[in-house]
Amino acid sequence: MSLFKIFDIAGSGMSAQSLRLNVTASNLANADSVSSSVDQTYRARHPVFSAMLSDETGKDQAGVPVRVDGVVESQAPLHPLYAPDHPMADAQGYIYMPNVNVIEEMTNMISASRSYQNNVDILNTSKQLLQATLRLGE
């Protein structure tokens, strides 16, 4: 019955969005984590989603779950800040701020929570339909 596959699909959507929320929370928490060298500074992380098409090519599939391919670090340039009095300042007096754009992270958070709610709605609706279908003919 096709409705059972909706559990897989909506479940995959929920887990992908919750991972996206985790990554957003991590970015926001580390928005001020300075360090003295470019290599050690926290870089904003973003998840990469892809549709989990099955390996058979050329066939149209009804339901395609979403898969998280991984989490990549943003390669946007870091901001050096001139603060010679900072305890972590390097030899030239610079500290490096992470490249986290707080506004972008907040919009990501709103979008992720909205998508998560949508997937939960679909899951609940399909569950009710299946339960009603089991009582067919009563």
Binding site: A16, F49, A51, A62, V64
Partner: protein, 146 residues
């Protein structure tokens, strides 16, 4: 006189299956609302239902006693081979939804549209289910009276 169960259920049997498949596609659209380059899919329900009814299980028959060919699934040479089912859509014409707004990452899913269509599909599923259920109850009542 033989009772043909297929004729009793009429169109609602196929309608229920197709509604479930459409629900699967719409759920997949919603789950992939943030996937780059994902294109929203859907199919024309009326056309798919007519096609399923027109095939009538594979072949038009003029008499209930004639055999009907079964659609779907590849031919198997041995009874123990598995027939394909579930994942593929045999005979349903999946189309792409026209996006209302351009997007940076190539994703054409409009969440609100999909939500609306999913809600409508759910109601239609419940309607088809209600009709089917009442027909089954009728048969049960007739059998119980006998």
């Amino acid at each position: 006189m033989s009772i043909s169960i297929d004729k009793v259920f009429g169109v609602f049997d196929e309608a229920l299956t197709l509604r479930a498949k459409r629900g699967e596609i719409l759920a997949s659209n919603m789950a992939n609302a943030d996937t780059p380059n994902y294109k929203a899919r859907d199919f024309d329900f009326r056309a798919a239902l007519e096609q399923a009814q027109g095939k009538g299980g594979g072949l038009q028959t003029t008499h209930a006693g004639h055999l009907k060919g079964e659609p779907a699934g590849p031919m198997t040479t041995n009874q123990r081979h598995l027939t394909g089912s579930g994942g593929e859509l045999t005979g349903i014409d999946l189309q792409y939804r026209v996006p209302s707004q351009a997007s940076l990452d190539g994703n054409t899913v409009d969440t609100e549209t999909e939500k609306g269509r999913f809600a409508e599909n759910t109601l239609q599923y419940q309607a088809a289910f209600g009709f089917l259920s009442s027909k089954i109850k009728n048969i049960k009542d007739i059998l119980a009276e006998g």
